[in-house]
């Protein structure tokens, strides 16, 4: 048995092995609890380091390639290490984008104004009915490993974008990358190179982030040996939550109506005074600004400048400084959703599409973490303590 940490003291979230059972502090929302061992990713709350399979996030972000990152997360092998494997993987992911016509019909039968994450959930559920029959071993990790899921979700998101924008169904061009396919569907035109780069970057940064609520939901469901599509439906249910991926939508809802930096400053003051939640700030994982923010801020600045939207960046910068000035002393720091959402917006996404677009990137991390967990998982079954009324009779 090992004692792992105290909430106040420093603790190394890296070990050679865990000797169960463990003793830790348990904070609200299970902060500080060790719910899994993983070789997939590493994030250090005190130094702000984030690495996938030992590769620092900065290195992955410098020439972003989502498919290569997904391959790295799931197999643990980098592009130099296994070029053949990566080529196969790209082929597999891209060719899994062809959806059954019934699934496309189901998506298109829904009101285009429905929240995209709900349509995505219905689409994934229907897809699962086509992919797996009652006689299959539903609990297997095969679907995760084969990674059809990542391509399928990307394709569904593309269809949902087109449906929302009143465009007819169109499958992604054969052989184009996942990001090219989704951008083409979103804007109904061939994407620019800097757009492809930006979406790859977003997906790389959003791919995995420890046991955040959507991933942990999926792991708990997987631990009951549910089928992978049920895991994703459950994970997407959490991802939409306004306190997780859904915050990206709220960021845009809050920022886009602001006309200039002055108005932004005034809005922040008012929001803080009235105790309103400011989306894009606050996170559990780090005791400092999220390392992904620096990367995204630079990218948003460049994209805004080249699109003649520098004012939007200035407004965002103003909000960031004003909120940081007020809340950083209280330990509330900017998180990935703030500039992440803005970048999705600059790529042409309306606010409700942001959580859906995040979901594509997140599938890679979920596939990696869930399939890893399936190998040595035990049913998640914690306890609660009864504090209610004593015996009574009807």
């Amino acid at each position: 048995m090992s004692k792992l940490q105290t909430l106040s003291g420093a603790f190394d979230w890296r070990a050679e092995a865990i000797d169960w059972p463990v003793t830790t502090d348990v904070g609200p929302g299970l902060a500080g609890v060790v719910a899994a061992e993983t070789r997939v990713m590493w994030l250090d709350p005190s130094s702000g380091e984030l690495a996938y399979r030992g590769v620092p996030i900065d290195a992955l972000a410098s020439s972003p390639d989502f498919e290569a990152t997904a391959h790295l997360l799931i197999t643990g092998r980098g592009p130099e290490e296994d070029p053949g494997g990566l080529a196969n993987f790209r082929h597999q992911v891209r060719s899994s984008r062809l959806l059954p016509p019934d699934v496309v019909d189901l998506v298109r039968s829904l009101d285009p104004a429905t929240h995209p994450t709900r349509i995505l959930r219905a689409g994934v559920s229907a897809l699962g009915c086509h992919e797996l029959s009652v006689d299959d071993d539903l609990s297997g990790s095969r679907q995760w490993r084969e990674l059809r899921i990542v391509g399928q979700v990307a394709s569904l998101v593309g269809e949902i974008c087109r449906h929302r924008n009143g465009l007819g169904s169109r499958a992604p061009e054969e052989g184009c990358s996942l990001s090219e396919g989704v951008l083409a569907a979103l804007n109904d035109r061939r994407p620019e190179p800097d757009e492809i780069r930006a979406l790859d970057l977003l997906w790389v940064l959003y791919a995995a982030h420890g046991l955040d609520a959507p991933t942990f939901t999926s792991m708990v469901v997987a631990s009951c040996l549910a089928d992978p599509y049920y895991n994703i439906v459950a994970g997407l249910s959490a991802l939409r939550g306004p306190k997780t991926g859904g915050a990206s939508e709220s960021v845009l809802d809050q920022l886009l109506p602001l006309d200039n930096p002055g108005a932004a400053e005034a809005w922040v003051r008012k929001a803080i005074d009235s105790g309103e939640t400011i989306a894009g700030f606050g996170h559990r994982a780090y005791h400092m600004p999220d390392p992904r923010v620096v990367i995204l801020r630079k990218e948003v600045a460049a994209m805004a400048r080249s699109r003649g939207r520098s004012e939007l960046f200035e407004i965002a910068r103003t909000v960031e400084s004003a909120v940081t000035r007020e809340l950083a002393p209280k330990g509330v720091f900017i998180n990935v959703n703030f500039y992440g959402a803005l970048l999705f917006h600059l790529l042409g996404a309306e606010p409700p599409l942001a959580p859906c677009l995040i979901a594509v990137g997140r599938m890679a991390g979920m596939a990696a973490l869930v399939s890893e967990a399936l190998d040595n998982i035990r049913l998640y079954r914690p306890l609660s303590r009864y504090v209610g009324v004593g015996d009574r009779t009807p």
Binding site: T6, W13, S125, L132, V134, L138, V221, L369, R381
Partner: protein, 375 residues
């Protein structure tokens, strides 16, 4: 739950968070040592036969037995939501019949969720109005799915019937007999809540993100659909149906025990003693099977239970609720593949109660993971 007061104590726990106390609850007490299950202080065996599922659902969700006027309002609310969106029913035409029944049911739920007006999804106040809609929509969808599996046309709901009676009516196409209804209602009552099992935990994580109650229920359903969690009542019934009678059951059980067979419907993560839900339901199963001329099946069950508990009881393995519900659902007329459905309908009450209890100021549930350095 953990939202209602800080829990910062040091705790010791194992893999799968075994032994970790996530927080406090006032919903149910599951005592695995003494074999007791209490909803809001009421022992379940005292609720069985005295209270309807509607009353128990209200008790579990809101903390008190409803008085006459509250019960009338709650019942009216449940009746009001008996018509799930047509589109959710139509969705079944777009999925292959060979898909798992729970995957088909899931697809109907996800499509139904697309028809809930958007602002309701994230407003806290709205969450409190949602349980009735979820309980009634899911019952209607499940009844439709079960008929669809059998190639039968849907049956419209009847407003004059209670929750349990209407579900059976919509599933079987005719109102249930009095004894079938009593037995079915009892099975819903004892399965309405069972602490923080894996499915309830999954629902709790989803609600902690600020998502809506329907999304939380979907996650719970996902957990329940897994082979480790739900579906054991179907497997247990199939085992019993294969046995030719009590004598065969004893011979087979001894032989199976000798080779270390794991019996579906026996053994429980919490109860290391007889499951209180089994004792409550047995009289209904016995009476129902007797009235249908299937006494032999009842004695087969008894013989198997005696042999298995006789051999394994000392190790804490006893018949659990999944051993008995099939013996109610079969004489009532439900197809075997539909046996897991009533459990889903009942237990979601408990998940929603846990979610509502967690909501007021619960933090997002995000534990940590230790990185195992491959170097």
């Amino acid at each position: 739950m953990i939202g209602n007061g800080p829990v910062c104590a040091e705790q010791t726990y194992g893999r799968g968070l075994a032994g970790l106390v996530v927080g406090d609850t006032a919903i149910s007490e599951v005592d695995g040592i003494r074999g007791r299950l209490l909803y809001r202080g009421y022992p379940v065996e005292q609720l069985v036969g005295r209270t309807s599922f509607e009353e128990v659902a209200y008790l579990v969700l809101f903390g008190e037995m409803p008085d006459a006027s509250r019960l009338a309002d709650w019942t009216a609310e449940l009746v009001r939501w008996r018509h799930p969106p047509e589109a959710a029913l139509d969705a079944l035409q777009r999925v292959p019949a060979r898909a798992h029944p729970l995957a088909q049911y899931r697809t109907m739920m996800t499509v139904a969720a697309c028809h809930i007006p958007e602002p309701e999804n994230t407003e806290l106040d709205a969450q409190w109005r949602r349980p009735a809609r979820i309980l009634s929509w899911t019952a209607g969808l499940a009844a439709y799915a079960i008929r669809h599996l059998q190639g039968l046309a849907p049956v419209a709901p009847r407003d004059d019937l209670g929750y349990a009676a209407n579900f059976l009516y919509q599933t079987l196409g005719e109102p249930p007999s009095e004894e079938a209804l009593e037995a079915f209602e009892a099975s819903l009552v004892v399965q309405a809540e069972h602490g923080l099992h894996a499915a309830a935990f999954a629902a709790l994580i989803v609600i902690s993100t600020g998502a809506d109650l329907g999304s939380a229920v979907l996650a719970g359903m996902g957990a329940l659909s897994g082979a480790r969690h739900g579906g054991a009542n179907q497997l247990c019934f199939e085992m019993l149906a294969r046995l030719e009678g009590p004598e065969h059951a004893r011979v087979w059980a001894l032989e199976a025990l000798a080779r270390g067979h794991r019996f579906p419907g026996f053994g429980h993560r919490v109860y290391k003693c007889p499951d209180p839900r089994v004792r409550s339901l047995e009289p209904y199963a016995e009476a129902l099977l007797a009235s249908r001329g299937q006494k032999k099946l009842w004695h087969t069950y008894l013989a198997l239970r005696e042999e298995v508990e006789g051999a394994l009881g000392a190790k804490g393995i006893y018949a659990n609720v999944d051993s008995i519900t099939g013996l109610l659902y079969h004489p009532i007329g439900l197809p075997v593949s539909a046996f897991p459905i009533p459990f889903c309908l009942a237990i979601q009450t408990g998940w929603m109660a846990h979610c509502l209890e967690y909501l007021p100021d619960g933090r997002v549930i995000e534990p940590g993971a230790v990185y195992i350095d491959p170097e």
